[in-house]
Every structure is written in C-alpha cells, then in structure tokens.
C-alpha cells in the first residue's frame, strides 16, 4: 500500500503496517530492533506477586520515586506498605536515592512519622517495607478543633524531623494520613533532603515532583533552593492552617506564574476575608506563617506549635467558643476547660501524661489492653507452656501493646513493655527501636538507658562468645553493632549534660558498643553505687576474657543463683559463656523466659548436635527463627545442618535469605564471603 509517511513526510511511498501503524519502509528500516534493545537501561522487571517475604496485595499509588503497594508479611502476619523502586523511571543509578529515602525514614523515630520496618532487595528490585497506615488525608474526620490539635501534633512531629536535619518539603494533606485512632502520620519523604546537604548544592528537590502547588513556599516556587529550610515546611503548615480555618487554599491560580505573582504581592490572604468568624489572633498567626519572606515566619516548627497554642488561647469570639464546645461535650475533662491545645502542650511537656485530647475523645477499647498484654507476656514467659503456646501468648501480647500504642503513641508503659518483650524474643533491633523512641523524648531516663545498654552488652556477649561455625559473620555483626549503636550513643551524649549519671552511663555503653572494654570497665568503676546495672562487671569481664584458654573465674552455685533472671539477656549470654567453658547449658530446666530466646535455642541446637541429634538441632533453630526471623546466626546454623542432612534445597533457601539479610544490614565482605561459601 502506498501513501504519505506520517513521520518523514515522503509522498507515494510504500507503507508498513495498517491504520495507525502506517509508516514508510525507509523509516521502518531505520530501527534495528535487537540493536535498539541493547540500549535498554538495566533493571526492567516484570510485575511481581512477591517481594522478599512479602506478598503483594494491591497497588496503592504511583509516585515519582516508586510504586507503593499494600502487602502482607506472612512471618509476622501483618499488613505493610511496600514502596518499590521503579528502576526505569529514574536515573541510571537510582538505588542510592531510593535508599536515601529509606535511610532518612529510618533515622526518624516518632509516633507521628511513618515507621520503617525494613529496607529490602529482591532480585533487581529494591523496596522499603513500612508501617501500613489505614487512614484518610489530613485533617481527617471530626471538628475543626480536632483538626487544629492534629495540626499541632504534625508541627511537633516536624520539629522532631527538623531536629534530625531533614526538611520534608512536600507537606500537604495527602502526605499526612489520619488513622482510625485520630493519629496523624507524616509520610512520603521522597523529596525530603537533609538540611546540611541542601546547603551544599544548588537545589534540594529530587524526583520529578517539585512539591505541590498550593502548599509550596515562595522560595520553592522561585527556585531559590538555597533558602529552603525548616521555614519552608512552616509555610506549608500555615497553608494547612488556612485550609482548616476556611476550607479553602490561600492562593488559587491556574499556573505557576500566577501563583508566584500572587505570593510575591507580599501579603498572605486573610482567613477572615473568607470567614468572618475566624478569631483575629489565629488569622494574624496564619498570615505570619505564610509570609512571603521566610524571615517573617515563625522560626521553626516548634515555634509554630507554640504560637498556634497562643493564638488559639487568645481571647476569642464566637468561633473559638464554637470550636471548643464539641470537645467539651465529648471529653468533659479539665483539659477542655484549660483549652484543648494547652492541654496537649502540657501532656507533651510532662512526659507520661494523658493521651492527647484528639485521641482521648475516641472510645476506649474494651478492658485494659495494657494489663492484658502484661498478663499474656508473663504467661508466655512463665515456663508452664509449650513453645508454640508460649509464642501464641507472646504474639498476642505484642498485638495488645501495639493496640495501646496505636491509640496512645506516647504511652510509656506500653513502649517499655513492648521493648522488653522484643528483648525477650531476641528481636534486638526492634527492642532498640522502642527504647530509642523513649530516649528521643527523654534522653536522661536512667532506667531506659540501662535497659538499652544491657541489651547491647548481651548482644556483644552473644557475638563474641557464640558463633562457632561462622566467625567472620560474628565479627561483621559486631562491627555493625559498633557502628550503629556507637553512633546512637554519640547522638544521645550530644543531648545530655556533660556531667551527670546519664552521661556517665551513656559513655560506658558507647565504649561497650565499640568493643573498648577496658575503657568501659574504667567508666563502670566511676559510676556511683547503685547506678551500675546488675552483673555488668561480670559481663565486661566475660567480654574481656574471650578467647583466653582459662577463665579466671567461673560462675557457679551462689554466683549463678544471684543472677537476676529479669535480666534475661545478660543471663543467656553468661550461660552461653559458661557452656563454652565446659558447663552445661541447662536450657531445658531453666526458666522458660529464656526458652523462647534465639540465643538459648541456638545453644540447645548446639547441645543437640554435639549428641549427634541433628534433626532435633534443626527443630531448635526453627523455633529460634520463629522468635526472631532475622536471627542471622540461627539461619546460618540451620542452613549448615540442613546441608549436612542432605536437604540442600531448604538449605539453599536459608542461605539466600541469610545473604539478603546480611546485605541489607550492610555487613562486610568477609562475612558475605563466608555465607556464600555455604552454597
């Protein structure tokens, strides 16, 4: 068939194809398909049903930096949100950028910031597994007073984010979800950037999304990216406030130019021009937050929060009274009489305080979930149940703690309870995370510092004394521990006064984290009486003696009996130490607090193997992995045993899982090689 080629315009030429495919053979011959496909960027993948251990349920959203899926974690039987890297949408080396978002999120631990569970890799895909927040865009349901309280909570969360040196830069209703309990959760840090790196480069926005028109500060619109700082997010808070007060956006323009021009006029619109009943103080404050010049805005998110309270508690007209009325009816507490926002501020300032009014207004769960959680934890650890039943109880306890924290993210007893539960289950990183949440709010809390520090001591002991078959993995994990927890204690010390018990404790634990045991012992000796955690001296001595042929002392009889069983991790590690020196592990007769702990289960497996009962050893290690699925040492031991038992396919799966876990953890090459050598 002849005609005009729609591409080159040649007339009366032979056309290839039919209908909308028509083009001349000359143009068609321009492209050699196999040669062209050689230029395809690396990393294009088919859609998947699984990523890592996660089962994809459905696609939730596509963003500039990836696709977000709802997924299920079958190991922990929980719903997660998976953000998956769309390799072909990004540059030739998109991984660092994606990882940066994951790392930024991982740095932020706050109940009102989406929680990251895992950074994962599966084949060519990279994903971030994070908390699944089922909710609606900000401000969520309820009256405007509730919206204002949520805005206050968002500002406080931003204060925390800014304190980590991170600017969100795309704050808008769809990036703040309000869950069923009324908790606002900040998310989508895809274009967030650390403030210090913003200063060193010309522009800080990344990804195709520049921010969202309507919530962007003038410095973002005008591309004055060197001016982007915390006050850029404060501007967006001002817009959110304007929207709460009026139901409208402050600037409505059909294009960027007009929007910039409106902003540039220098005066933010008055909320009272839209709704006459907006209190003057709130109106003034709102305009100030949206000032064109960032110098005229509140200096920080913390200032925004404080000034919001002031503005709301200023003498108000009918609007303010109307705002407070529904809350007074629903809560009926002194909190209301004092003014809702002031109540929240006080609750934040006083630490363990009643839940914010927004949450308090929600119906209380039936019974007392915190008490029930404690009971089920005791039952699970009490020694009367089989492993399976104990795990059922402990998992139920975890759910109950989480239920409490979902309604009251700052509930300290629930956070402590959950942290200790994780410690008992050998999920050290989860336990550290919970302890860190508490220390972020109160770095000088000695009890929490000691709990976190003891966990660290135990980990060091387990690593130093435990791994018979994989010494390089042990060394690699020890190095990671030194980096992560050493840095964490550095951060804590920066926030603590130079003198004082908390600083002394933190310095000692930092030394332990970095395997500087002599220094740790010297620091421990300087601690005032009663400040030193129980048996810390024994633990440090055990750490110092590792590898020596003869222990200078052994723990028997009275000394062993004197060990505080509540310090289960320390106890497990010391028992392990004794076993290595020839003592019996006595796992089967010990309190079952430790029976679910993977370190002790590994010990059981070791004992079983020594008796030639390798199948039993595999069972013990399987139990260890039920308690702590990320326990690398248990997985590797099981892989080795399975291989020896001729179950090579199962062994290979364990090795691959171990490789994934180790790679994600960022373990060193020697350790990776050691794992690979199992294949």
């Amino acid at each position: 068939m002849k005609g005009e080629c729609p591409f080159c315009g040649r007339k009366d030429v032979e056309l290839a194809g039919t209908g909308d495919l028509e083009f001349c053979t000359t143009c068609a011959d321009l492209v050699d398909v196999p040669a062209a496909l050689r230029h395809l960027p690396q990393g294009r993948e088919e859609p998947v049903a699984h990523l890592g251990r996660y089962k994809i349920v459905r696609e939730l959203a596509r963003t500039a930096s990836g696709t977000v899926y709802e997924a299920r974690d079958p190991d922990l039987d929980r719903r997660v949100a998976l953000k998956v890297l769309e390799v072909h949408h990004l540059g030739p080396d998109p991984v660092p950028r994606f990882l940066r978002e994951g790392r930024l999120l991982a740095k932020i631990r706050h109940p009102n910031v989406v929680e990251i569970h895992e950074l994962g890799r599966d084949g060519g895909k990279i994903f971030i597994a994070m908390e699944y927040v089922e909710g609606v865009p900000f401000p969520g349901p309820g009256h405007r007073d509730q919206a204002l309280k949520r805005l206050f909570i968002v500002a406080k969360a931003l204060q925390h984010v800014h304190a980590q040196g991170i600017i969100h830069r795309d704050l808008k209703p769809t990036n703040i979800l309000v869950d069923r309990s009324g908790r606002p959760v900040l998310m989508d840090f895809g274009i967030a950037r650390q403030a210090d790196s913003a200063a060193s480069t010309a522009i800080t926005a990344t990804g195709a999304v520049l921010g969202t028109l309507g919530f962007m500060a003038p410095e973002q619109i005008l591309g004055n990216v060197r001016e982007i700082d915390a006050r850029t997010d404060v501007y967006a808070l001002g817009v959110l406030l304007f929207e709460i007060l009026t139901g409208e956006l402050p600037f409505t323009a059909s294009n960027i130019d007009d929007y910039a021009r409106l902003q540039k006029k220098g005066k933010a619109p008055s909320a009272r021009s839209v709704r006459k009943d907006v209190p003057e103080a709130l109106d003034r404050f709102c305009r100030r937050a949206m000032a064109f010049r960032r110098e005229d805005r509140p200096l920080s998110a913390a200032d925004f929060a404080a000034e919001l309270v002031d503005a709301q508690s200023a003498p108000r007209g009918s609007f303010g009274r109307r705002l407070l009325k529904p809350l007074a009816i629903s809560v009926g507490t002194a909190l209301v009489l004092a003014g809702g926002l002031i109540g929240i501020v006080r609750s934040f300032q006083s630490g363990p305080a009643p839940a914010p009014a927004a949450e308090a207004a929600l119906p209380a769960p039936s019974g007392d979930p915190l008490r029930e959680a404690e009971l089920r934890k005791s039952k699970g650890l009490g020694g009367m149940l089989s492993f399976e039943s104990a795990m059922t109880e402990l998992q139920a306890a975890e759910r109950l703690y989480r239920q409490v924290l979902s309604a009251e993210p700052r509930n300290i007893p629930a956070t402590v309870g959950l942290a200790r539960l994780y410690a008992d289950l050998g999920r050290e990183s989860d336990a550290h995370h919970q302890f860190d949440l508490l220390l972020d709010r109160d770095p000088g809390n000695l009890e929490i510092l000691r709990a976190k520090g003891n966990l660290l001591v135990t980990e060091q002991l387990e690593l130093a004394l435990g791994h018979r078959s994989f010494p390089n993995v042990s060394a690699g994990l020890s190095q990671l521990l030194a980096e992560h927890q050493g840095n964490r204690f550095d951060e804590l010390l920066a926030r603590l006064p130079p003198s004082g018990p908390a600083g002394a404790l933190a310095r000692m634990y930092r030394a332990i984290a970095r395997s500087r045991f002599e220094e740790a012992r010297a620091l421990a000796e300087q601690l005032p009486p009663g400040q030193s955690p129980p048996h810390l001296d024994l633990a440090i001595q055990a750490l110092q003696e590792q590898g020596r042929p003869q222990p200078p002392h052994s723990l028997k009889g009275e000394e062993e009996g004197a060990l505080d069983r509540s310090e289960s991790h320390l106890w497990v590690a010391l028992v392990r130490h004794l076993f290595r020196k020839g003592a019996r592990p006595r796992a089967s007769t010990s309190a079952s607090r430790t029976r679910v702990h993977p370190a002790l289960l590994r010990l059981e497996a070791q004992s079983d193997e020594a008796r030639g009962e390798r199948a039993r050893a595999v069972e013990a290690l399987t139990r260890a992995l039920s308690s702590a699925p990320d326990d690398l040492q248990a997985r590797l031991e099981r892989a080795r045993l399975l291989k020896e038992l001729g179950r090579s396919e199962q062994s290979r799966k364990d090795i691959q899982a171990a490789l994934r876990g180790a790679e994600l953890a960022g373990i060193n090459k020697a350790a990776m090689d050691e794992i690979r050598s199992l294949l």
Partner: protein, 236 residues
Amino acid sequence: MQVTNSDRRFPTTIWDDISSARKGSSRELDLLLARYRSPIIGFLRWKNVRMEEAEDLAQEVLIRISTPGFFEKVDPAKGRFRSLLLGVTRNVLSESLRRDRAERRGGGGQVVHEGDLSDGAIPLHEKAVASEDRMFDQLWVSELVDRALRELEEDSAARGTSEGAAFRLKYLEDLTQEEVAVRLGCPVFSAKNYIYYGKLKFKQKLLSSIRAYCSTPEEFEIEVKRLAPFWKGEEA
C-alpha cells in the same frame, strides 16, 4: 512562548508541552520532568558528579527550563530540544563547580546565570565536547528505547492483546517463534502475528518519541539521522 505549527504530523511539540505545563497543573510538569530527567542524571553521573548532587542539578536544569521567562528567550528554530537540555545541563554543572570553588575559598557570592542557551558554556576541548555529545546521545537513546518498550507493553495490556508479551519473549528473552507460542498458549501463526505487530508498534513508538520533541519535519529527519546509528548497531 507558543509555537504554532500547522503541520499535522507535528501536532504537539515539546515547546507546546512545556508551555502547557507551565500554564497548567504541576502534574503536567511532573510528567514532563519525569520524561527527561534520566539522561540528564546519567550525563552528570558520567561527569563524575555524585548521585545526590546529580539529582539536584538535574532538577535545577528542569526547573530552569520551566522558569518564568526562560522560554520567551528561546527560539525553537535555534536548535534541538536535546541540545538545549545538554547546554543548560553544562551551564548548571559549571555554575555548581564555580560555586563550590567559591565556597572553598570562603566566598559564596551571587551566581550569575548566563549563557544558558548556548552550548559549550564550560570551556571544553573540542574532542571532549564531541565525546560528551555522544554520551548524552547514548543516554537519550536509552531513555527513548525504554519509553517505547514501556508504552508498547502498557498499550498491549490496556487492549488485552499479547503483542507486548510476545515482543518481550522474542527480543528480550530470545525465544523462537515456536517457544513464544508455547509460552503464550497460542498457535504459532498467532505468535508470529503478535511478534510482527509488536515490532512495528515498538518502532512506531520509538519514532513518535522523537517526533514529540521535534518542531518540524526537517528537525525530525536530522534527529533521526543523528540517533539512527544507535539502533542500527553502527554506533561503535
């Protein structure tokens, strides 16, 4: 700037797209930026710019071309869109280097944006410029090929046909027509048809991608000739 073009083969040019994006929602701008940022980042990475900084600079390039006033100065007849992007990229990079040097000296004064529209703002050896051009072309082709394949697969999925799958099996997994038929569960002649139309559509989408950023048939022809060696296996 509004480019008028009565040629029905070039109903929408990149200039119209950018102009529309600037008048419309940020979503349109997002799409535009998503389409062209990959080669820029690739180029900057090739110039040994760290990934984070490359992303920032790419963003600055794209912001600069969509900044109020920028297009008023641009005459589409002056050159190809791709050349313009490369020119702005070079300028942004050179300014960034100057700024870094100034900051190291303790300065950090105002950076003057100049010469955005001319190629070669960085004084480069002629050979180096040629090498840079070639690298940018290569990255550009990579993006075009990727986009053509993606569009083929999306179209195919939307229409419920097997052309996209057959194309992938044949050309990316290197299966024979018979093997493609087995994988798709269809007769061999159907598999042949799917592969044939998949191939035609892939070529059409590739050429359409080029047409999308060309203003005239002449520019299209020049552009196709320039890039053709890459998909004719003659680029080495």
